[in-house]
Symmetry: C2
Subunit: 209 residues, 2 copies
């Protein structure tokens, strides 16, 4: 697979192994050819399986896209909620949240691109499921920022726009990041965390992790 490096750790729990292999093959095919131009035949071929074997696990390429998008969004929602719950101090919260969110989008950039850019290829009911996960991610980020504003730690002109900008910064990493990027995902996460804290008007150089 062309960019297998960043998908190795994905779907560790998906069983049977053939289903996991199909998800990885779908990511590889969508990344190479684009979602619209990808056939289930191509995905099966990439997974080293017959088209008939694919249909045992997934009824369509749309079902594979949905599974990739749903799990990708569930992962990032979990990560954002974990950061919000683990820390009390708004600065420490944002630092952990942005560092983890950014590093995820760098490390998992191939999957993240598919998840973001093929969103509108999802059939309406599946789109709604993913849209709801996205609303929860945004909501959690807004709450974290609003809480910091309420505590007098952050100063932002508009919580909604600041939340958008925070998420945007992390998501867009998936667009430009690749294996040749000179900054490691974790280091990029740390740098972005400091930039976002400054953006939120937090005093720079607060307590380091």
């Amino acid at each position: 697979m062309s960019e297998a490096a960043d998908t190795g750790g994905l779907w560790p729990d998906v069983q049977p192994e053939a289903a996991r292999r199909l998800l990885l093959a779908a990511v590889d095919s969508f990344a190479r050819l684009g979602y619209h131009a990808t056939t289930t035949r191509e995905i099966a071929r990439t997974a080293g399986m017959s088209p008939a074997a694919l249909y045992i696990h997934y009824p369509s390429k749309g079902a594979l896209l949905f599974e990739i998008s749903r799990t990708g969004h569930e992962d990032t929602l979990a990560l954002v909620r974990r950061a919000a719950a683990a820390e009390q101090d708004p600065v420490a919260r944002v630092r952990t949240l942005v560092a983890d969110f950014t590093a995820w989008h760098a490390r998992t950039h191939t999957v993240a691109r598919i998840v973001q850019y093929e969103l509108h290829a999802l059939p309406q009911p599946q789109f709604e499921v993913v849209a709801e996960l996205r609303r929860r991610i945004e909501e959690t980020v807004r709450e974290v920022i609003a809480d910091g504003v309420a505590q007098g730690v952050f100063t932002v002109p508009e919580v909604r726009t600041a939340a958008r900008a925070l998420i945007s910064l992390g998501v867009d990493v998936a667009r430009w990041y690749n294996e040749r990027s000179s900054t490691a995902p974790e280091e990029l996460g740390r740098q972005y965390a400091e930039l976002v804290l400054a953006m939120l008007g937090a005093t720079r150089g607060g307590p380091q992790p």
Copy 2:
């Protein structure tokens, strides 16, 4: 056309009119179907022309993608350079640059998405032309930030990462912005300019435009 609203002002100088109509039809088709799944036949149909008439103006759909990408990048490079040249004060420079760059990506989001997401579909020589424009955009932004750092007006951990983040914020607007967004492109530009100035460690609430 489905999202004609944000393409109306594009390519005002392209002559003859048929060539301009083909560019608009290509944007519409790529946005609806994805680049890979779009045929020249579909582009011609959308423009109300025959496939043979298309080939008079563009030899391939790749040539249309290149024209869209090249002009999109030339527009944003011009805008970034204009902002850098128009202002002396680093804060005023960044304010104008981010406001214009962000508003462009909101207003022209359909074109911006194609320009960004289908970059790797370009044949190598054409890709190189666009990559060079991108390097110049990044370079200009880096210079503007570095100049502010040198003048003691900005404080950033890493000029390169800060430039990436500034560009990223603007570019990603194209991904999520649509006709139903409640914030107008110019207002979003103003809000983003203030967020970026804070991100660069500039004193918030410096002289307003």
